[in-house]
């Protein structure tokens, strides 16, 4: 008979060795500015624990790998795709459990070539989110293992969330 009663109370997560301990937002910004001086620009601290930055789309794979391995951002929360008049923006929200930070990385792509590198080899949770962005918005993710439609039927030819699709 398994144990009864209340579950374990809040456990301390093991602090990973040689990460930046308890990085407040400034330390994060400084670390990113040192590692990727041209690629990541435009830092703003929106709220406590919430940093926004702009990312050059050619450096996505390296930057994300650096974020996951060196800075301890283990969890990719959301990948959104927004279409403006002259560009597509792809927004990554990445969370660090240990340091309790949320980083919002915004990437731009030109309107006629909406493609970025896939991060699904870095975070497995990105797999289906990228498929959804491809399905509904038409963003191509290079290097994705299985870029197929996920929510709409497989033989659909439109990308419904685009502004020129009037339904």
């Amino acid at each position: 008979m398994a144990e009864r009663g209340r579950s374990d109370q809040k456990e301390d997560m093991e602090k990973a060795p040689s990460r930046i301990d308890a990085v407040p937002e400034e330390k994060l910004i400084r670390a990113l500015m040192n590692a990727f001086p041209e690629a990541i620009t435009g830092f703003t601290k929106l709220k406590e624990g919430f940093v926004r930055a702009k990312l050059d789309r050619r450096e996505i794979a390296k930057a994300c790998k650096y974020l996951r391995d060196e800075l301890g951002f283990e969890h990719l929360s959301m990948i959104s795709a927004v279409e403006y008049d002259d560009r597509f923006e792809i927004v990554y929200h990445i969370t660090s459990y240990q340091n309790k930070l949320l980083l919002e990385l915004i990437t731009r792509t030109p309107k006629d070539d909406p493609s970025v590198d896939s991060v699904s080899s870095i975070w497995g949770g990105a797999n289906w989110q990228e498929r959804e962005s491809y399905d509904l918005m038409g963003i191509m993710f290079n290097g994705h293992p299985n870029l197929e439609r996920i929510l709409l039927p497989k033989d659909y030819t439109f990308h419904p969330l685009r502004k020129d699709f009037k339904g």
Partner: protein, 357 residues
């Protein structure tokens, strides 16, 4: 041999398809397929004004609808920079925790029914009725409430609501103990759950799994404690984790979460100040973005809203916790028997409304 479990199947709660490749009775590969319930809510939102989207957000996940309309209102308040009065925040916390209990009871009913214990189904649905009656007194509806508003909640609590809620909570806490005995005292239930469907900690974090499934794998991350929103900083409660990563752990985490929700509700009722419950929000949103995250009963829900100066949103992006958790299903399923699919997928608490949006 590939077997299709679904889309029409009594086990799959909601409309999705699970293709499993079996070798005898052992599962070798699994491919979940979703998208049967896609309603295009994100596109629908772009044609409606901000208050008109609240009932639409309710219908995202009909199992725990208040969480999603609350999430939407929080995101819009972040976009418009609107500050919510304190009494409204307390009412929101009270109703969210009640919604969490209702959602977990629904999960427990379906879980017990799938495992063959019909009595479990009927008894938990009966307890759920108590809370649905409270919701009906408060909002007028039983499942999709349309209760939060941008800038507060729709109206104040009805008379005698505190007395009824406290009565319901004390009745329910006794029943919770009975259910623990009913389920855990049965050796067969333990045999079907202990050691089944192990999801290791690193896999869970990497695949983006959040919510009770993550906490059952030993990671103590709860948005109510780690990034408190609303008035959760004032509330005194524990984050429930469990160190075995199997179905029993997920069951245990949810049972304890129900108990913790009862405590939060009692505190919210005691600390609620008097005051307004709603302020008028502006009609047009500024140009910019708003982001909100909540701890949905199933995981981490997020909404990202882009405003463009008019009274309709430019883009609404919704993160559904179950969408990401289901993509981790192959990792959990491989190596177990076909008969375990029910226990494992039931333990993940699927709600297809939010998966397919």
């Amino acid at each position: 041999m590939w077997i299709n479990m679904g889309p029409q199947h009594p086990m799959t709660h909601g409309l999705w398809n699970l293709r499993v490749k079996v070798d005898g009775e052992t599962i070798v590969d699994a491919q979940p397929e979703v998208g049967y319930l896609h309603r295009g809510i994100e596109k629908l939102c772009e044609g409606k004004t901000y208050p008109q989207i609240i009932p639409l957000a309710d219908r995202l996940c009909y199992g725990s609808s208040l969480t999603w309309s609350h999430l939407y209102c929080m995101a819009v308040e972040d976009l418009m920079n609107v500050e919510v009065p304190e009494r409204a925040e307390y009412i929101r916390v009270l109703t969210i925790e009640m919604q969490r209990i209702v959602s977990h009871l629904m999960w427990l009913a379906a879980y017990a029914g799938d495992l063959g214990l019909g009595v479990g189904f009927v008894y938990t649905m009966r307890e759920r009725e108590v809370f649905l009656d409270l919701f009906q007194a408060l909002t007028g509806a039983r499942i999709t409430y349309n209760f939060p508003r941008i800038g507060g909640v729709a109206h104040d609590l009805p008379p005698n609501f505190e007395r009824d809620t406290l009565r319901a909570i004390s009745y329910f806490e006794g029943r919770l103990k009975e259910y623990e005995d009913l389920f855990e005292g049965s050796k067969i239930f333990m045999m079907r759950n202990v050691g089944v469907g192990i999801l290791k900690k690193e896999d869970a974090i990497n695949m983006g799994v959040t919510g009770p499934t993550l906490r059952a794998s030993g990671v103590s991350y709860d948005l109510r404690k780690d990034r408190p929103y609303s008035v959760y900083e004032e509330m005194n409660f524990n984050v429930v984790t469990h160190k075995d990563c199997d179905c029993y752990a997920r069951y245990r985490v949810r049972m304890d979460e129900m108990w913790e929700s009862c405590q939060i509700m009692k505190q919210a009722l005691k600390k609620m100040p008097k005051g307004k419950v709603r302020i008028v929000s502006p009609r047009n949103a500024p140009v910019g973005t708003g982001l909100a995250r909540v701890e949905d009963p199933r995981g981490e829900g997020m909404m990202y809203i882009v405003g463009d100066g008019t009274d309709k949103p430019y883009r609404v992006k919704i993160r559904s916790p179950i969408f990401v958790t289901v993509s981790a299903a192959p990792k959990i399923l491989i190596g177990y028997k076909v008969a375990d699919v029910v226990a494992i997928m039931g333990g993940l608490d699927m709600c297809i409304g939010e998966t397919d949006r």
